[in-house]
Symmetry: none
Subunit: 212 residues, 4 copies
C-alpha cells in the first residue's frame, strides 16, 4: 500500500527505512483522526504525535490521506470473505453482511468518508484511491458475480457492473449522505432486489424470470 519504494530489490546504500517510524506515523494518523477528525488532521500533527520529522512523512506519502489509506490497509482486516457459499444469493448475502458490518464500525466509517471526500478534492489522491481501494472492493464482488455467472444462477437482465454500482452505491450513500446505520435489513432488501422477485411467498427459486 505504500505508494513509493516497492521495488523488490532494496539493495541500496544508506540507512534502511525505519519500520518503527512507519508504524508510529500510521498509528498517530489513526489516533488523531479519531480525536480531532479528518479536518483537524495535519501532517505537522502526525509528525509531532509520532515523533517523526515532517520530512520523513513527506518522503514516503504524498498527502495525509495517503497516510490514512495506508493505515487503514495495514490495520484493518478490511477484506470481506468471498468464499463460495453455494449460491449467488448466499454469496451476495454474506458479502453484504460482512461489508455492512465493517461499515458499522464508526472508526472505519469516518476514515472511509474522509478518504472518499479527499478523493473528490485532490484528483491525484482520487486516482490512487479508486485504483487501489475502490477497485479492490469491486473486484471482490466481481469474484462472486463471476462465480454466479459460471454457476448460472446470476439473474439475467442486469450487467455485473450495474449490480456492483447498485451495491456499493447504496452502501456509500448511507455512509456519506444519510448517515443512517448500515442495518442488516437493508442488506436483505438489496439481496432480494438483486437476486430477483422478492417473490411473494412461494417459489423463491423460479423468481428471476422475465416471462415464464
Amino acid at each position: 500500500m505504500t505508494p513509493v519504494n516497492d521495488q523488490p530489490a532494496p539493495e541500496r546504500p544508506g540507512r534502511k527505512r525505519s519500520e518503527d517510524s512507519r508504524m508510529a506515523i500510521l498509528a498517530a494518523a489513526s489516533e488523531l483522526t479519531a480525536e480531532v477528525g479528518y479536518a483537524g488532521l495535519t501532517i505537522e500533527g502526525i509528525a509531532a504525535r509520532s515523533g517523526a520529522g515532517k520530512t520523513t512523512i513527506y518522503r514516503w506519502w504524498p498527502s495525509k490521506a495517503d497516510v490514512l489509506l495506508d493505515a487503514l490497509a495495514t490495520k484493518a482486516d478490511l477484506y470481506v470473505p468471498v468464499s463460495d457459499e453455494g449460491s449467488y444469493t448466499a454469496d451476495l448475502s454474506a458479502f453484504l453482511t460482512a461489508s455492512f458490518a465493517l461499515g458499522r464500525n464508526p472508526q472505519v466509517a469516518e476514515v472511509l468518508c474522509a478518504l472518499m471526500a479527499e478523493a473528490q478534492i485532490n484528483p491525484e489522491f482520487g486516482k490512487r484511491f479508486r485504483a487501489s481501494f475502490l477497485q479492490n472492493r469491486r473486484d471482490a464482488l466481481g469474484v462472486i458475480l463471476d462465480r454466479a455467472q459460471a454457476r448460472g444462477d446470476l439473474p439475467p437482465g442486469l450487467p455485473p457492473a450495474t449490480i456492483t454500482d447498485i451495491v456499493f452505491g447504496t452502501l456509500w450513500y448511507r455512509l456519506l449522505a444519510t448517515r443512517q446505520p448500515l442495518d442488516q435489513q437493508l442488506a436483505n432488501e438489496l439481496v432480494s432486489t438483486l437476486t430477483g422477485p422478492r417473490s411473494d411467498s412461494a417459489a423463491p427459486a423460479s423468481r428471476r424470470r422475465k416471462q415464464p
Copy 2:
C-alpha cells in the same frame, strides 16, 4: 437559500443588503470552481474576483461550500420534474432521466462532488447540505413514490426509503467513485430493477398492480 435573515418582516434599520454583491459573489464562486477546482477555491479569491470584501462573504455565508451551494440553488434549474406521467414506471423513468441528465453536466457534477466531500469534512456544512439539498432531492422522489402508493402500482417488498437509497446511491456512486458517465442505460436498468418484472405470471403490461 441564504442562510441568514429570512424573517418575513425585514423592517430593520440600516443599509439594505446589496443584491449586486450577492450575485457577483455567487458568480465568482462558480467561475472560480470551474477554473481552478474546488481545492483551489478560496474566500480571498472569490472576494477578489467579485470585487466584494471578505467581510461581506463571511457576513452571509459560513464557508466557501455554502457559497457554492447557494450559487447552485440560485443558478441551476436543479429541480427535476415530478409531474404525473401516469404510472410509477413512467414517473420513475422521467425522474431518473432528468436527474442523470443534470449529473451529466460536468460543471454541476464537479460542484456536487465537492459539496458532498465538504459535507464529510465539515460537519456543520454537512448538516446544512443534508437538510437542504439532499433532503430536497429525496422529497422529490418521495412525491413519486407516494403517488405510486396511492395509485397502487408500487411494487411490494421494498420500502420507499430503500428505493430512495438505491436510486440516489447509484447516482452518487457513479459521480463520486467511478466517474463513469451517467448514461441512460443505467437509468433504464435501475427502473426495471426497481419496478421489477418479478411480476408474477402473465401480463407484462399490467404488472405493477398489487393484485390483478
Copy 3:
C-alpha cells in the same frame, strides 16, 4: 476645540447638531481610554459605548485622537494660572507647581502621552496638536517670561524660547520616557536652575558655585 463648523453665522436650515451626542461621545472616549488604553480605543468602540453612529463621529472629528483632545479640553481645567506672583521666580515656581500637579493625574498623563504619540505617527493630527495644545502651553509660559522681561528680573543669557524648551522638555521627558513622578523637587530644581544664582554679587544661595 471642535475642528469643524465654527463659522460665526450658523444660520442654516436643518437639524442642529446634538449636544447630547457630542458629550456622550467625549465621555465614552475618555472612559474607554481609561479602560482599554489608547491602543484599544476605536471609533467603533466609541460609537457603541456612546450610542452614536460612526457617521456622527466622523462628521465632527477627523480621528480618535481629535476626539480625545476635544474631551481633554472640554473636561480638564487644563490651564494653569499665570497670575502675577510678584517675581519671575515666584511666577515660574507657581507655573511649574501647577503644571506638575496636572501631570501627576494619571488619567491626564495617559491621554497626553497618547496624543503626543499620535502626533508623531499622524502628521495631520500633529499639526493640530502642536498648534492648539502645545502652543497654548508655550504661550502661557510666554506670558510669565514677557512679564519677567518687562519687570527686568529675567536672568540674561538664556533666550525665552530656550527656557520654554527646557521647562516643557523636562516635563514631557518625565511623562514619556522615564515615567517617574513629576515631583515637586524637580520643579524646584528647574526653577533654581533657570532663575539661576549666576546672580553675581548678591547670591542668596551660594551653593552652586564651582569655587567660592
Copy 4:
C-alpha cells in the same frame, strides 16, 4: 538586540537562523519607514520587500517597532563618544554636540520619534525601549557625570538624575514637539545653564575653557 535566543550555548538541533533573512528584514524596515513613514510601515510590507515570510518576522520580533529598534541598533553608530575631554564642561559639550548632530539626521529622527510614540501606545514595547535604548543613552551621560563628580567639577545643587532629565528632555522635546532643528546654539545654552553661572557680565567668551 535580538530579543530571543541569546543563550551562550546554541547547541540545538535543526536549521540555524538565517543571517541573510535577518539583514534583509532590517534593511527593508528601514527603507520602508523612509518611503512611507512609520504609520505606513506594516509587517506584511516588510515581508514582501525583504522576501521573507511573515512567520519569520513574527518568530524573532514581537512588533514592527522592535524590528526598527533592532535596525537602528545594528546600523547606526548610535553611540556618541564619552571620552574624557578634561573637564565636565568639555565632556558635556562634546556629548551634546554629538547627540544633537545625530538627531539632526532626519532618518534617525523620524525613527526615534516613531519608537518613542510606539512606546506610549504599546506598553510592552515601551518597557523594552526604555530598558534598552533610553537607559543606554542615560548611562552614557552618566559616565560623564560620574567622572565630573570624581574630578570634582560637577556644580553642586543639581542631582545627576535631574541633569540627565533636563538634557534628554530638551533634546526629545525638540524632536517630538517643536520639530525645530537641534542647533548647536541650543547645545551651548544647555551646557552653560548646566555648568553653572554663565558668568555674569564679564568674560562670556572664556567660560567654556577647560583651564587656561
